[in-house]
Symmetry: C2
Subunit: 327 residues, 2 copies
């Protein structure tokens, strides 16, 4: 392995100058810089990052901690973050928590031991508070949270505009002429689901419609619970549902159709997350899209610029057959 010392020796100068030249310092004569670059290329020099990092006290690695990398949402966030971080000269170290508190602690420790330049984190369901995160990262490792955030932690937070999105989804159902619009609301332990519920409610209240608890169906995020809830919604007189998740919406559609309810003629459905199957099923499902790639980019940006406010990424309503009378 070629070192700057060897380059310096070959050129009869000192390592300092070589170091400066190679890291783009302006304090090197153009002529010297050229000679150095040429010699470096000739010898096939490549900077030893470990030495550089040790000296600088930090690495060019950014840690990304997510519950599960193979979930579409998270892999897209990572993808978005990586695109910006790589451009800026950082590498991305990925850790999965599998939704477990202990794995999250382990991941954060690993990142700290690697003296990462920063951490992008979406915490595990198993982490009920933020103490361990603050303890492990301490003051000197910048943290950016996304999607699932602890608001008592310092640093930037990137979240979706769940209120606004749910509001628009519900307003869309109203505009399509549906009369009684319920909601499959998900888990209230998550701020994201909570905000979607609030958005749904506000959209109805703003036009003088009822938004009572009898048409709110909690803890529904998988097809099975979606199916059951849809049946109850039907009994409660609903003719549309805004669903805080795509999988519960999928269950709802299945259940309704198997009762002979036509979608969208008799009943409208809007899901949330825009999972890839929503566009592919028949009837295709309207869905309130998250924007994971963009969230990843914004998180990376916040880290790179040292920002620390809350960044709200808009959601986008994808109108498809399941809520569209005119199709």
């Amino acid at each position: 392995m070629v070192t700057i010392t060897q380059i310096a020796a070959a050129l009869g100068i000192t390592p300092s100058t070589v170091s400066r030249a190679l890291s783009g310092s302006p304090r090197v004569k153009e002529e010297t810089r050229l000679a150095i670059e040429q010699k470096a290329a000739e010898l096939g020099y490549e900077r030893n990052i470990m030495a550089s990092n040790l000296r600088k006290g930090r690495s060019d690695i950014v840690g990304v901690v997510v519950p599960r990398i193979h979930r579409e949402f998270f892999s897209n966030v990572i993808s978005g973050a990586e695109s910006l971080l790589n451009e800026a000269g950082y590498s991305v170290l990925i850790c999965q928590t599998h939704e477990r508190f202990e794995d999250e602690v382990k991941a954060l420790r690993t990142l700290r031991n690697n003296r990462v330049a920063g951490v992008l984190l979406s915490h595990a369901i198993g982490s009920s508070d933020s103490a361990h995160i603050r303890d492990i990262l301490g003051r000197d490792i910048p943290l950016v949270q996304f999607d699932r955030v602890f608001s008592d932690l310092p640093g930037a937070k990137v979240v979706s505009n769940n209120f606004q999105g749910a509001y628009e989804a519900t307003a869309h159902l109203v505009a399509q002429g549906y009369r009684r619009i319920g909601t499959l609301a998900g888990y209230m332990s998550s701020e994201a689901y909570e905000q979607r519920l609030v958005g749904w409610r506000q959209a109805l209240l703003d036009i003088g419609r009822s938004a009572g608890e009898e048409i709110v169906f909690y803890d529904t995020i998988v097809p099975e619970t979606g199916r059951e809830a849809a049946m109850k919604a039907l009994s409660a007189g609903c003719d549309a549902l805004y669903c805080a998740g795509d999988f519960s919406a999928l269950g709802a559609i299945e259940a309704l159709r198997s009762c002979g309810v036509r979608i969208p003629q008799d009943f409208g459905i809007v899901g949330t997350a825009n999972e890839s199957f929503t566009a592919l099923m028949t009837p295709s499902m309207s869905s309130l899209a998250l924007n994971p790639y963009e969230m990843g980019r914004r998180a990376a940006e916040a880290f790179l610029n040292g920002d620390d406010g809350t960044i709200v990424v808009p959601m986008e309503l994808k109108i498809r057959e399941s809520s569209n009378h005119s199709l």
Copy 2:
């Protein structure tokens, strides 16, 4: 940050001894080791990995290079690899190539500069040969290839049983009564696609069917190209397609249905990869499932054990509506 020097000072011994104790050397008196461990815990010591790595000349990071992390297949491979590697004390650094040769070169350079302990690689479509890989990684960074492998490179290779899988998928279409079975073949720069093509051909030849070039459609892996190819396949008299990818198969289904061709009554489709949308779409898509999580584990295993043979992971045909006359 606490260092071994501080621990040594606090105990009136030398850093050498502390280093030995903390890295589990037997050349330390039990009593001393205990005192050291206690003091380390008390001061909240954590090893500076950068310094350790510099001294040892290598890091505890394993690089994983994939075309795109947000593709289900790859994110599952990574997930599988990570589970084993983390247990063994390695971290995983992920790089995407976006199927581009230049990005692959950049990624491999980054990994080399980080002096990674090893590299798990599935090369980009844009890499038509292996020269750059050998050049950049050289002799001292162990390489394990998976899925898309260059057979002229040293090191372990983890592949799917593409020949066998494609053979079975094609035989299944035959058994379902389809008469003229074409193939959307993908890119021949990849051995995986090549083997699928060979499997398709062999299955047809073995029963005396034609498998001519007029029903082979190359370079089809995204919906758009799948759409176009499906139209040509129809003109060529095909009534079924074995598709070497799920996305081209998806495009094919869309194109065929929009022409009024019924699936599976008029035309049978089998995709490859078992992406999650295949089970959820209507009609659900038959697909030849890869086993990405297992492939990731096997790749990690090969790296950890220093193995270097070829490991074949079986594929599994998931029969769904798109190829099933009896449904």
